[in-house]
Symmetry: C2
Subunit: 288 residues, 2 copies
């Protein structure tokens, strides 16, 4: 007997498709509805086994779902959460998979409050961010094990209902992930440092490499710049939604880089080695 | 019939060990002598099949070798090339695997010239840099295929004898590598951008990440900082030997980063997307 009868996934790309595959493989849902605008993408999700049926409108797709997971670019999430909530009853819980949380969650909370005041809807929303991104996009790269052992940050607010928070945490755990709870603001400050800054730096490094030298790159350059292959439009949205924290992380990064520059300019070997050792210590702490 | 009777490898770490394994697997040398100071490392190289015999002194190890490959940290190379040359006749060709070339090659050339003026030696030297580094060190990580499909930069000077340059190019090609010839100065300018700057940036990024946020890192951070796990002392030597070009590469990187910062500060989405697309274009051109 599956845990959920119907789970609806809005946006069946890498994350949405992987959620669907994992739900199917783990037999956690009877029906998995893939919702999207482009029929070709939905056909791909269906034939790839990511979903059991599809819908091109949120209204039709979320009808009867106990759980709705919105896996679209961050600029679309709040509006789609509101749209889904308008078509669901109070028994439905909605979450998302956006890389930034403060703007998304406050806009979604506000939209849901407006619905309740208008006495329609009543669905719950709890924000999430699975730390399982990739430079690859699209459900053809989806994997049933994408979330296994990964961290998912769940970001409740004062408005969140405790049973809904528990259900969303249980949902990600059922897919094999480890759940960490943080406020949306704490999430954005932390992820600016662990994800958004690295993306900015990787993009700058790739863009600063002259074309004629690309044949002289090796695995070091390839690793360091890998995430720069990510979709510029998705990342534009993420950076704009988390500009303040990303700029603050960039300040910290530039302070460390300035110390490395000074050591290089001065030919100060011991200082250079000390800064490199500090980087190595943190990198070694994380492992491969 | 192997192509070389005896090849001596000074420093049997990741690169030296991989050269030895590849020579054995491809049956290119009758004897492969591993030379190092620490008997434990030499025993490991011998039992791992990287070499056929070992020596703790360069004088004993290089006797009778047609080819000597010096795979030690950059600060040791020139002196060890000179030491090897002093124990070899004019039929011996010496190369190295150092990540910087101008300082190494000019010091080695000067040492060989002094030997010739003293009427001893007469061995040839041609500098090399296999672009096959790793954050992993030691011959236990050596692989027979490490150089397959990789680029090796060979850096002849006016002093280099054409047959020696050809022989060294043929040596790396025999191990499966593609050879590119450049002057030592051109090499250092190029590799500052494709390898030394990425290392500096990766180290700064790792060092700028607060310890308490390390559990919130995912594959993006892990890829971008991977090379920061490299040996700080080896990299100190590389940076000091190529400080000028690395600083110039850092200038270029910081100019691109400043444009990203301005776009973020201004909330300028189109400019942000354009810079990200520029990074993606270069990253995509290189592939995985």
């Amino acid at each position: 007997m599956p845990r959920w009868n119907t789970v609806a996934i809005v946006g069946v790309g890498l994350i949405g498709g992987s959620v669907g595959l994992a739900l199917r493989q783990r037999k956690l849902a009877h029906e998995i509805v893939g919702i999207g605008r482009r029929p070709a993408s939905l056909d791909e999700a269906l034939s790839g086994g990511c979903v059991t049926r599809t819908a091109t409108s949120i209204a039709r797709g979320v009808a009867g779902a106990q759980l709705v997971v919105v896996c679209t670019p961050v600029e679309l999430i709040a509006q789609q959460v509101a749209e889904a909530a308008g078509c669901c009853g109070p028994e439905t819980i909605i979450t998302d998979a956006g890389s930034t949380k403060a703007q998304v969650v406050s806009a979604a909370d506000a939209a849901l409050l407006a619905l309740e005041n208008g006495e329609s809807g009543g669905a719950s929303f709890v924000g999430s961010h699975p730390l399982a991104g990739s430079d690859k996009a699209g459900c053809r790269h989806a994997r049933a094990d994408l979330l296994e052992g990964r961290v998912v940050v769940v970001t409740p607010t004062e408005r969140s209902r405790a049973p809904a928070v528990e259900e969303i945490a249980a949902f990600w755990q059922a897919l094999g992930a480890r759940v960490v709870q943080m406020s949306p603001a704490d999430h954005d400050a932390a992820i600016a440092r662990t994800s958004h800054l690295p993306h900015l730096v990787a993009a700058a490094l790739a863009a600063a490499t002259p074309d004629d030298l690309l044949p002289l790159t090796a695995t070091g350059w390839a690793d360091t710049t890998r995430i720069a292959a990510g979709d510029p439009d998705l990342w534009r949205q993420i950076f704009l939604a988390n500009a303040g924290h990303t700029l603050s992380a960039l300040d910290d990064f530039e302070r460390v880089l300035a110390r490395l520059r000074s050591a290089l300019e001065a030919g100060d070997g011991p200082q250079l080695a000390e800064l490199l050792a500090e980087g190595k210590r943190r990198r070694d702490a994380v492992g491969s």
